[in-house]
Amino acid sequence: MAKIIGAVTTSHIPAIANAMANGLEETPYWKPFFDGYPPVRDWLNEKKPDVIILFYNDHGLEFFIDKKPTFAIGVADEYYNSDEGWGIPTIPPVTGESDLSWHIANSIVDEGFDMTICQEMKVDHGLTVPLNLMWPGHQYGHVKVIPVCINCEQYPMAQPWRTFELGRAIGRAVASYEEDINVVVFGTGGMSHQLDGERAGFINRAFDIDCLDKLVSDPEALTKYSNMDLVEQGGAQAVELNMLIAMRGTLLGKVTERHRNYHAPISNTGSGLMLLENEISTAE
């Protein structure tokens, strides 16, 4: 049976792509951020997951507000990046995994999740930056990726309780998949930040650290927040925490924190890197 063996939270901001393209990892500004990643890379290289389920949001590459899905899932064998308009380099195609993707889609739509199902889907920095962070030099072609895209751009947005439930449903779907494969889940984006308005530049370090703590040991507490609570406490774009909450929902076993690196600011955001292991009891 398929197993979710762990999960990673990571930033996905475009500035990271530029920093990596320009070799700035060791500069004083970037070092405290990039220094967090080697232990996670080592873990991934040791565990060699077959599939990554990646929660991200599309910042206006594939989806526009003409037709904006609340939840979209990719079911393709390949995904393409494309010009996003502001000069981050376009990167090589991402490998997909259509069989498990369709299995998940079948299972969660039956459970009442109203997915938009995508056989063609351009993926933006929200998905590509985390992959390149984990396998630098775009060496991620061997890993199969299932993109799950959550609307964080336009209200109404799914509330934290709902994104957590989405995660749980995906966790159940993976657990019912018959192939013997290992899956790791990425929750990307966030944490506290506000890009727009006179309140731009808002960061809430204490809130971010509390969220990381709760992601480990008390995720239900996070589902009590509304998106408006997230905006109040974490700034306008803190709704991206929904991707971390969805990730945590997929972990149905015993969860242990293996690594953490919080650093702020990176660009305008608080960046929370965390590695969680998920121990599935044999009874399950």
Binding site: G85, Y155, D196, V231, E232, A236, P265
Partner: protein
């Protein structure tokens, strides 16, 4: 008339809800088009004509002319699409932060550092 998403308000924050999405539809569609180099070139060659093509309102055109990010937000712009406009102007997120808060980019960066250390 149109329903707001919520009655909660946050100082200096423009929630992009249905009312804004309707008001800013043409503006955001123009900005979304800037994903393509061809569109960026067309805008750069004649910004006024390009705004006209997407039926921007006078207030939206004025804000585009003045690179007035707050004005664009008020007129229904979404930061995610506006970022493609500011990208075209070669402004990064700290430049835009400065423009919106009335600071220089360096002052805005210093504020980010301070906020990042939790000294709020």
């Amino acid at each position: 008339m149109a329903s707001n998403y919520t009655d909660r308000k946050f100082q200096g924050t423009y929630l992009f809800d249905g009312q804004m999405a309707k008001k800013g539809y043409g503006l955001n569609k123009m900005c979304y088009s800037f994903n393509d180099q061809v569109a960026r070139d067309e805008f750069n060659a004649d910004p006024e004509a390009y705004c006209e093509k997407f039926k921007l309102t006078e207030a939206q055109k004025e804000a585009i002319r003045n690179k007035d990010v707050i004005g664009l937000l008020r007129e229904g712009g979404s930061i995610y699409y506006l970022a493609k406009f500011t990208g075209l102007l070669k402004l990064n997120m700290q430049d835009i932060g400065g423009l919106q808060t009335g600071m220089s980019t360096d002052e805005f960066k210093a504020m980010l550092e301070k906020n990042g250390r939790g000294e709020v």
